[in-house]
Amino acid sequence: MKKLSWTNSSIWDRIFVVCNTIFLVAFVVITVYPVLNTVALSFNDGIDAVRGGIHLIPRIFTLQNYRTVFNQKNIITGAYITVARTVIGTILALVTNSLLAYVVSRKRFLFRSQLSLFWVVTMYVNGGMIPTLILYKSLHLTNSFWVYVIPGMIGAFNMLVMRTYMEGLPDGLEESAQIDGAGDFTIFARIISPLCKPVYATVALFVAVGQWNSWFDAMLYNRMSSEYTTLQYELMKLLSSVMQTGGSANPGGTSAATAVTPVTVRAAATVATMLPIICLYPFLQRYFVTGMTIGSVKE
């Protein structure tokens, strides 16, 4: 079968296939190599790594870099806070966005279009960094954990993805439940929500990744409270301190860290931070593909 198509195809077609394959292989290599290189560096001896030339396999294997990383109190605190904000933030976002999406997707609802517009506007207009900061300060959200999960809880984009999905469900479901005497909350919780599991998973994934990866809120609002630091913010401080001191930094602060240079320590911290996401995302593909498609292709 394959042979047949090869002999039948024109010479240009063959050239195209070859070029296309080269392009895609190059694409994959450029995407994957830097990540694998970071993993290799994270397992390599620090002083040895300065010589360069480490590619995919560590030259002198060690676990010292990871020991240094996990011996830092701030990183452990950051890990706890990051897990907490990811879990709590995702749950809160799911509950509120789905309820809002339910309300604006009810065709019979009197203020449906007004409420929808009210939220769509927030996608394009916002107060900006400074007024937002002052607001959070006056609400006592700064220097607290809640600044991570309360302000960004409802997002118009996530709401729209859910709304589009709910609008695609047949109207008859709701009507027959109403005839049976079900109220709106029952319809939402018992009938609509179970059918919306795929889109809930999509939004949960978007929110969780955003929570896991955000660092700017920790820097802007909780700079003074190290008990609310996050993993990404600690990683950022680690990376920038390395840059400023030009490789002579001793971020571990322990005597054992003399054998560890920052390049390998930052590689270890990077790997520790990205590992959970890298392990999970391949299994969640169909959810984010659905979400991106619903969210972007307006019909």
């Binding site: 995407t31 019979r108 939220w119 927030t122 916002n126 007024p131 990866n213 990205m274």
Partner: protein
Amino acid sequence: MKARRITWKEIKRQKFLMLCTLCFVIYGILFYYVPLGGWIMAFQNYKPKDGLIGSQFVGLEKFKFLFSDATFLRVIRNTLAMGVLNLVCTFVMAIVFAILLNEVRSNLGKKAVQTISYLPHFLSWIIVTGILQDALSSTGIVNELLVNWGLVKGPISFFSIPKLFWPIVAFANVWKETGWNAIVYLAAITSIDPSLYEAATIDGAGRWAKIKNVTIPGIKPTIMILLIMNIGNVLNAGFEVQYLLGNGLVKPVADTIDIYTLTWGISQNDYSLGTAAGIFKSVVAIILIVAANQFAKKTGEQRLF
């Protein structure tokens, strides 16, 4: 459709929906609309101890200062230049990638490449810029290859050359988002009617002709919608990468409006000036999106509103 009469019975029946709406509106006003009221600060000499009510009004003084400040003008240029460069590069790459991936016959290969292509999207900018700094360092892979192939004599110090900063930022964006952005185009390509390809094959069209005459026209509406959506975000794309990759040597080309806001508003505590810079950004974003939408309307393409 005939307008329904609003009856008490109907309102009572919708009391749960009304209650939810009330909560969502209060939340929305508090977190999204109240900060807009903070725009008043841009017309004041805001002092935290005097508050919004007590601070002295200075009219357009802060804006006059902004537009006479050479740094701010340079910052506008940087934001626009990097925003447009990033938009063009990520857009073109995503479309090219989607079309080329679609031409792959093997389903397994397609799936594998696509899975790998999403990976960078899930990494934070901290990690992406960290990885990029490693790759471009003096002992990194890029310099190693350049030296080994004899293209340069000694390692290049990439992050200290102002000319290279914009391309590096564009590359970082392409690296991170190409696979992710391609999702939508791949979905659009699958929804093209297969009979169009069959007809083209019968007419003797080769691969190129099919891409040019079937695939690209098929995804054109998607391209237009995404373009309009993203044009409004051109100025928003100018913070994290520049903040994380910037350094003293490239500051004149690296600083963006958001970094300017951060420096003046947070570090120098001039809240009014920071707010004014933020307002300028918002207004330009709205003008851009409305203009793009009008343009799409004129040319008869799909549009947002």
